[in-house]
Amino acid sequence: MTERADKTIELRVLRYNPEADEKPHHQSFTVPYTSDMSVLQGLQWIKDTVDGSLTYRWSCRMAICGSCGMMINAEPKLACHTLLRDLAPGPVTVEPLNHFPIERDLVVTVDDFVKKIESVTPWLIPKHPKPVSEGPYNQTPAQLAAYENFSACINCMLCYAACPQYGENPKFIGPAAMAILQRYDGDSRDGGSALRIDAVHGEDGVWGCTAVGACSDVCPKAVDPMHAVNQNKMNTALDYFLRFLKKRDAK
Protein backbone atom coordinates (compact mmCIF):
# COMPACT_ATOMS: atom_id res chain seq x y z
CA MET A 1 0.00 0.00 0.00
CA THR A 2 1.35 3.41 -0.83
CA GLU A 3 1.49 5.97 1.93
CA ARG A 4 -0.94 8.90 1.65
CA ALA A 5 0.58 12.36 1.80
CA ASP A 6 -1.65 13.63 4.56
CA LYS A 7 0.97 15.59 6.47
CA THR A 8 2.16 19.00 5.27
CA ILE A 9 5.26 21.08 5.89
CA GLU A 10 6.02 24.71 5.08
CA LEU A 11 9.00 25.39 2.80
CA ARG A 12 10.26 28.98 2.83
CA VAL A 13 12.15 29.19 -0.43
CA LEU A 14 14.44 32.06 -1.38
CA ARG A 15 13.30 33.34 -4.79
CA TYR A 16 15.22 35.57 -7.16
CA ASN A 17 14.30 36.44 -10.70
CA PRO A 18 17.09 38.48 -12.30
CA GLU A 19 14.66 39.97 -14.80
CA ALA A 20 12.20 41.32 -12.27
CA ASP A 21 13.62 41.33 -8.73
CA GLU A 22 15.95 43.91 -7.27
CA LYS A 23 16.95 41.40 -4.60
CA PRO A 24 15.95 37.91 -3.39
CA HIS A 25 12.91 37.36 -1.15
CA HIS A 26 11.36 34.37 0.61
CA GLN A 27 8.21 32.66 -0.61
CA SER A 28 6.29 30.11 1.45
CA PHE A 29 4.79 26.92 0.11
CA THR A 30 2.79 24.33 2.03
CA VAL A 31 3.93 20.96 0.78
CA PRO A 32 2.16 17.63 1.41
CA TYR A 33 4.71 14.90 2.11
CA THR A 34 5.18 11.24 2.84
CA SER A 35 7.83 9.81 5.13
CA ASP A 36 10.12 8.88 2.21
CA MET A 37 10.13 12.32 0.56
CA SER A 38 13.28 14.42 0.29
CA VAL A 39 13.49 18.22 0.20
CA LEU A 40 14.23 17.84 -3.53
CA GLN A 41 10.94 15.98 -3.98
CA GLY A 42 9.20 18.77 -2.06
CA LEU A 43 10.63 21.28 -4.54
CA GLN A 44 9.55 19.07 -7.43
CA TRP A 45 6.00 18.98 -6.02
CA ILE A 46 6.01 22.81 -5.96
CA LYS A 47 7.33 23.00 -9.51
CA ASP A 48 4.81 20.46 -10.83
CA THR A 49 1.70 21.73 -9.07
CA VAL A 50 2.13 25.33 -7.82
CA ASP A 51 4.82 27.30 -9.61
CA GLY A 52 6.57 25.95 -12.71
CA SER A 53 9.07 28.78 -12.65
CA LEU A 54 10.81 27.57 -9.47
CA THR A 55 14.40 26.96 -10.53
CA TYR A 56 16.91 24.56 -8.97
CA ARG A 57 19.55 22.04 -10.06
CA TRP A 58 19.27 18.30 -9.68
CA SER A 59 20.01 15.16 -11.61
CA CYS A 60 20.69 11.84 -9.90
CA ARG A 61 18.33 12.04 -6.86
CA MET A 62 20.76 9.74 -5.04
CA ALA A 63 23.55 11.90 -3.59
CA ILE A 64 26.10 11.18 -6.26
CA CYS A 65 25.92 13.88 -8.97
CA GLY A 66 26.48 16.77 -6.56
CA SER A 67 23.99 19.09 -8.32
CA CYS A 68 21.35 19.69 -5.64
CA GLY A 69 23.39 21.42 -2.92
CA MET A 70 21.47 24.15 -1.11
CA MET A 71 21.16 25.77 2.31
CA ILE A 72 18.47 23.87 4.21
CA ASN A 73 17.71 25.56 7.52
CA ALA A 74 20.97 27.49 7.02
CA GLU A 75 23.08 24.34 6.64
CA PRO A 76 24.65 23.27 3.35
CA LYS A 77 22.97 19.98 2.38
CA LEU A 78 22.14 17.85 -0.62
CA ALA A 79 18.40 18.37 -1.14
CA CYS A 80 18.00 14.78 -2.40
CA HIS A 81 19.71 13.44 0.71
CA THR A 82 17.68 15.39 3.28
CA LEU A 83 14.30 13.97 4.28
CA LEU A 84 11.34 16.25 4.96
CA ARG A 85 10.23 14.06 7.87
CA ASP A 86 13.47 14.89 9.69
CA LEU A 87 12.69 18.59 9.39
CA ALA A 88 9.10 18.38 10.66
CA PRO A 89 7.22 20.29 11.92
CA GLY A 90 9.03 23.04 9.99
CA PRO A 91 9.00 25.65 8.63
CA VAL A 92 12.07 24.79 6.57
CA THR A 93 14.10 27.52 4.91
CA VAL A 94 15.55 26.57 1.55
CA GLU A 95 18.13 28.94 0.07
CA PRO A 96 20.85 28.79 -2.57
CA LEU A 97 24.34 27.77 -1.40
CA ASN A 98 26.01 30.50 0.64
CA HIS A 99 29.01 32.44 -0.71
CA PHE A 100 28.07 31.94 -4.37
CA PRO A 101 26.26 34.53 -6.51
CA ILE A 102 22.61 33.64 -7.19
CA GLU A 103 21.67 33.18 -10.84
CA ARG A 104 17.98 32.46 -10.28
CA ASP A 105 16.08 31.07 -7.27
CA LEU A 106 18.20 28.18 -5.93
CA VAL A 107 20.72 28.13 -8.77
CA VAL A 108 24.15 29.64 -8.08
CA THR A 109 27.05 30.61 -10.34
CA VAL A 110 29.61 27.80 -10.41
CA ASP A 111 32.25 29.39 -12.67
CA ASP A 112 34.63 30.25 -9.84
CA PHE A 113 34.45 26.75 -8.39
CA VAL A 114 35.10 25.12 -11.76
CA LYS A 115 38.11 27.39 -12.38
CA LYS A 116 39.54 26.43 -9.00
CA ILE A 117 39.18 22.75 -9.74
CA GLU A 118 40.90 23.29 -13.11
CA SER A 119 43.73 25.16 -11.45
CA VAL A 120 44.94 22.12 -9.49
CA THR A 121 45.74 20.04 -12.61
CA PRO A 122 43.14 17.43 -11.62
CA TRP A 123 44.41 14.42 -13.49
CA LEU A 124 47.04 11.75 -13.05
CA ILE A 125 50.48 12.56 -14.43
CA PRO A 126 52.36 9.25 -14.47
CA LYS A 127 55.63 9.32 -12.57
CA HIS A 128 57.13 6.79 -14.98
CA PRO A 129 55.12 6.84 -18.22
CA LYS A 130 55.00 3.48 -19.96
CA PRO A 131 53.17 2.04 -22.96
CA VAL A 132 49.96 0.02 -22.46
CA SER A 133 51.82 -3.10 -23.58
CA GLU A 134 53.81 -2.99 -20.34
CA GLY A 135 50.65 -3.50 -18.31
CA PRO A 136 48.87 -1.55 -15.58
CA TYR A 137 50.30 0.67 -12.87
CA ASN A 138 49.90 -1.49 -9.79
CA GLN A 139 49.05 -0.15 -6.38
CA THR A 140 48.99 -1.74 -2.93
CA PRO A 141 46.01 -1.34 -0.56
CA ALA A 142 48.13 0.98 1.57
CA GLN A 143 48.92 3.17 -1.45
CA LEU A 144 45.22 3.31 -2.30
CA ALA A 145 44.31 4.18 1.29
CA ALA A 146 46.66 7.18 1.10
CA TYR A 147 44.24 9.08 -1.19
CA GLU A 148 41.02 7.07 -1.37
CA ASN A 149 38.71 9.37 0.60
CA PHE A 150 39.89 12.41 -1.38
CA SER A 151 38.82 10.67 -4.59
CA ALA A 152 35.22 10.48 -3.33
CA CYS A 153 34.50 14.19 -3.95
CA ILE A 154 31.32 14.77 -6.00
CA ASN A 155 31.94 18.53 -6.54
CA CYS A 156 28.78 19.48 -4.68
CA MET A 157 30.32 22.71 -3.32
CA LEU A 158 28.75 22.24 0.13
CA CYS A 159 32.19 22.74 1.66
CA TYR A 160 32.57 26.16 -0.01
CA ALA A 161 29.15 27.18 1.28
CA ALA A 162 30.27 26.15 4.77
CA CYS A 163 33.66 27.90 4.67
CA PRO A 164 33.64 31.42 6.18
CA GLN A 165 37.12 32.11 4.80
CA TYR A 166 35.86 31.51 1.27
CA GLY A 167 32.93 33.79 2.10
CA GLU A 168 35.39 36.49 3.19
CA ASN A 169 37.80 36.00 0.31
CA PRO A 170 36.42 34.42 -2.87
CA LYS A 171 39.98 34.09 -4.18
CA PHE A 172 40.78 31.50 -1.52
CA ILE A 173 41.41 28.16 -3.26
CA GLY A 174 39.04 26.48 -0.81
CA PRO A 175 38.38 22.96 0.48
CA ALA A 176 37.29 20.74 -2.43
CA ALA A 177 40.02 21.98 -4.80
CA MET A 178 42.62 21.03 -2.20
CA ALA A 179 40.98 17.65 -1.61
CA ILE A 180 41.12 16.98 -5.34
CA LEU A 181 44.73 18.17 -5.47
CA GLN A 182 45.59 15.79 -2.65
CA ARG A 183 43.76 12.98 -4.44
CA TYR A 184 46.43 13.18 -7.16
CA ASP A 185 49.41 14.36 -5.09
CA GLY A 186 48.81 11.48 -2.71
CA ASP A 187 48.63 8.87 -5.48
CA SER A 188 51.72 6.67 -5.67
CA ARG A 189 51.50 6.60 -9.49
CA ASP A 190 51.47 10.37 -9.82
CA GLY A 191 54.48 12.60 -10.40
CA GLY A 192 52.75 15.95 -10.94
CA SER A 193 53.08 17.64 -7.51
CA ALA A 194 55.45 20.28 -8.86
CA LEU A 195 52.74 21.44 -11.30
CA ARG A 196 50.20 21.74 -8.51
CA ILE A 197 52.25 23.45 -5.80
CA ASP A 198 51.50 26.97 -7.08
CA ALA A 199 47.81 26.48 -6.32
CA VAL A 200 48.81 25.64 -2.75
CA HIS A 201 51.09 28.60 -1.95
CA GLY A 202 50.25 31.98 -0.49
CA GLU A 203 47.31 33.83 1.06
CA ASP A 204 44.87 32.62 -1.58
CA GLY A 205 46.29 29.11 -1.21
CA VAL A 206 46.14 26.93 1.90
CA TRP A 207 47.17 29.75 4.25
CA GLY A 208 43.76 31.35 3.77
CA CYS A 209 42.48 28.50 5.92
CA THR A 210 42.22 29.02 9.70
CA ALA A 211 41.12 25.44 10.43
CA VAL A 212 37.48 26.25 11.07
CA GLY A 213 36.70 22.70 9.97
CA ALA A 214 33.11 23.31 8.81
CA CYS A 215 33.99 21.93 5.35
CA SER A 216 34.68 18.46 6.68
CA ASP A 217 31.60 18.60 8.92
CA VAL A 218 29.20 19.23 6.02
CA CYS A 219 30.82 17.02 3.36
CA PRO A 220 28.30 14.33 2.36
CA LYS A 221 31.03 11.97 1.16
CA ALA A 222 33.42 12.06 4.15
CA VAL A 223 36.13 13.48 1.90
CA ASP A 224 37.60 15.46 4.82
CA PRO A 225 38.81 18.44 2.78
CA MET A 226 40.07 20.12 5.97
CA HIS A 227 42.68 17.38 6.20
CA ALA A 228 43.79 17.98 2.61
CA VAL A 229 44.11 21.74 3.14
CA ASN A 230 45.99 21.51 6.41
CA GLN A 231 48.41 18.77 5.49
CA ASN A 232 49.36 20.89 2.50
CA LYS A 233 50.37 23.72 4.82
CA MET A 234 53.29 21.53 5.76
CA ASN A 235 54.06 20.77 2.11
CA THR A 236 54.09 24.42 1.10
CA ALA A 237 56.30 25.38 4.06
CA LEU A 238 58.72 22.61 3.12
CA ASP A 239 58.69 23.63 -0.54
CA TYR A 240 59.35 27.23 0.47
CA PHE A 241 62.46 26.28 2.44
CA LEU A 242 63.70 23.88 -0.22
CA ARG A 243 63.39 26.60 -2.86
CA PHE A 244 65.23 28.95 -0.55
CA LEU A 245 68.07 26.42 -0.10
CA LYS A 246 68.24 25.73 -3.83
CA LYS A 247 68.58 29.45 -4.53
CA ARG A 248 71.39 29.68 -1.99
CA ASP A 249 73.15 26.67 -3.53
CA ALA A 250 72.94 28.28 -6.95
CA LYS A 251 74.80 31.39 -5.79
Partner: protein, 132 residues
Protein backbone atom coordinates in the same frame (compact mmCIF):
# COMPACT_ATOMS: atom_id res chain seq x y z
CA UNK B 1 15.55 36.29 -23.76
CA UNK B 2 16.66 35.91 -20.21
CA UNK B 3 18.97 38.36 -18.61
CA UNK B 4 21.88 37.35 -16.38
CA UNK B 5 22.26 39.43 -13.29
CA UNK B 6 23.90 37.31 -10.57
CA UNK B 7 23.04 38.53 -7.10
CA UNK B 8 25.88 38.56 -4.56
CA UNK B 9 24.79 38.23 -0.95
CA UNK B 10 26.95 40.13 1.53
CA UNK B 11 28.97 38.10 4.03
CA UNK B 12 27.87 38.90 7.60
CA UNK B 13 30.77 40.50 9.49
CA UNK B 14 29.98 38.72 12.72
CA UNK B 15 29.85 35.17 11.30
CA UNK B 16 32.30 34.02 13.98
CA UNK B 17 29.85 34.88 16.75
CA UNK B 18 27.14 32.53 15.49
CA UNK B 19 26.48 28.84 15.26
CA UNK B 20 28.18 26.70 13.96
CA UNK B 21 31.33 28.81 14.30
CA UNK B 22 31.19 29.51 18.03
CA UNK B 23 33.18 26.42 18.85
CA UNK B 24 35.92 27.58 16.49
CA UNK B 25 35.91 31.12 17.91
CA UNK B 26 36.21 29.88 21.49
CA UNK B 27 39.04 27.57 20.44
CA UNK B 28 40.96 30.44 18.82
CA UNK B 29 40.33 32.79 21.76
CA UNK B 30 41.55 30.15 24.22
CA UNK B 31 44.92 30.39 22.43
CA UNK B 32 45.29 33.92 23.81
CA UNK B 33 45.89 32.38 27.24
CA UNK B 34 49.36 31.40 26.11
CA UNK B 35 50.19 35.05 25.45
CA UNK B 36 48.79 36.04 28.87
CA UNK B 37 50.81 33.31 30.60
CA UNK B 38 53.90 34.53 28.77
CA UNK B 39 53.20 38.11 29.90
CA UNK B 40 52.89 36.94 33.53
CA UNK B 41 56.21 35.07 33.31
CA UNK B 42 57.88 38.00 31.60
CA UNK B 43 56.73 40.40 34.31
CA UNK B 44 58.29 37.97 36.82
CA UNK B 45 61.55 38.13 34.91
CA UNK B 46 61.45 41.91 34.89
CA UNK B 47 60.79 41.86 38.65
CA UNK B 48 63.76 39.57 39.13
CA UNK B 49 65.99 42.00 37.26
CA UNK B 50 64.77 44.90 39.35
CA UNK B 51 65.89 43.33 42.60
CA UNK B 52 64.62 41.44 45.66
CA UNK B 53 61.88 43.91 46.57
CA UNK B 54 60.26 43.85 43.16
CA UNK B 55 60.57 40.06 43.13
CA UNK B 56 58.82 39.75 46.48
CA UNK B 57 56.10 42.12 45.32
CA UNK B 58 55.56 40.01 42.21
CA UNK B 59 55.35 36.83 44.28
CA UNK B 60 52.96 38.61 46.61
CA UNK B 61 50.76 39.52 43.65
CA UNK B 62 50.84 35.91 42.44
CA UNK B 63 49.36 34.80 45.78
CA UNK B 64 46.65 37.48 45.76
CA UNK B 65 43.00 36.45 45.24
CA UNK B 66 42.84 38.36 41.93
CA UNK B 67 45.83 36.46 40.59
CA UNK B 68 44.46 33.13 41.81
CA UNK B 69 41.16 33.77 40.04
CA UNK B 70 43.03 34.80 36.89
CA UNK B 71 45.18 31.67 37.00
CA UNK B 72 42.14 29.49 37.58
CA UNK B 73 40.49 30.98 34.49
CA UNK B 74 43.70 30.70 32.49
CA UNK B 75 44.07 27.06 33.47
CA UNK B 76 40.56 26.21 32.28
CA UNK B 77 41.10 28.04 28.98
CA UNK B 78 44.48 26.38 28.55
CA UNK B 79 43.09 22.88 29.14
CA UNK B 80 40.39 23.59 26.57
CA UNK B 81 43.03 24.77 24.12
CA UNK B 82 45.08 21.63 24.63
CA UNK B 83 42.02 19.48 24.03
CA UNK B 84 41.08 21.26 20.80
CA UNK B 85 44.71 21.44 19.65
CA UNK B 86 44.97 17.67 19.71
CA UNK B 87 41.60 17.38 17.97
CA UNK B 88 43.08 19.25 15.01
CA UNK B 89 46.45 17.51 15.11
CA UNK B 90 45.47 14.62 12.79
CA UNK B 91 44.25 17.13 10.18
CA UNK B 92 47.62 18.84 9.99
CA UNK B 93 49.77 15.76 9.43
CA UNK B 94 50.03 13.41 6.47
CA UNK B 95 47.79 10.37 6.62
CA UNK B 96 49.20 7.68 8.87
CA UNK B 97 48.87 4.28 7.18
CA UNK B 98 49.66 1.24 9.31
CA UNK B 99 49.40 -2.26 7.85
CA UNK B 100 47.49 -1.04 4.78
CA UNK B 101 44.78 0.91 6.63
CA UNK B 102 44.71 4.53 7.77
CA UNK B 103 45.02 5.07 11.53
CA UNK B 104 41.70 6.64 12.70
CA UNK B 105 42.03 10.35 13.49
CA UNK B 106 40.46 9.73 16.88
CA UNK B 107 43.31 7.38 17.79
CA UNK B 108 45.89 10.01 16.86
CA UNK B 109 44.08 12.58 19.01
CA UNK B 110 43.84 10.12 21.89
CA UNK B 111 47.54 9.18 21.76
CA UNK B 112 48.64 12.82 21.49
CA UNK B 113 46.42 13.95 24.35
CA UNK B 114 47.56 11.05 26.55
CA UNK B 115 51.23 11.85 25.96
CA UNK B 116 50.60 15.51 26.82
CA UNK B 117 48.66 14.60 29.98
CA UNK B 118 51.32 12.13 31.15
CA UNK B 119 54.22 14.56 30.53
CA UNK B 120 52.42 17.48 32.19
CA UNK B 121 51.41 15.38 35.20
CA UNK B 122 54.98 14.13 35.55
CA UNK B 123 56.26 17.69 35.49
CA UNK B 124 53.72 18.84 38.10
CA UNK B 125 54.59 15.85 40.32
CA UNK B 126 58.30 16.60 39.95
CA UNK B 127 57.85 20.24 40.94
CA UNK B 128 55.59 19.42 43.91
CA UNK B 129 57.69 16.65 45.42
CA UNK B 130 61.17 17.42 44.12
CA UNK B 131 62.67 13.94 44.50
CA UNK B 132 66.18 15.41 44.31
Amino acid sequence: MSERRPYVRPMPRDWWAHRPFRHYTIRELSGVTIAIYAAVLLSGLVALLRGPEAWDAWRGWLASPASLVLHGALLIAMLWHVRTWFQILPKTMPKLILGGTPVPQRTITLVGTSVAVICSSALVAFVLWRPF
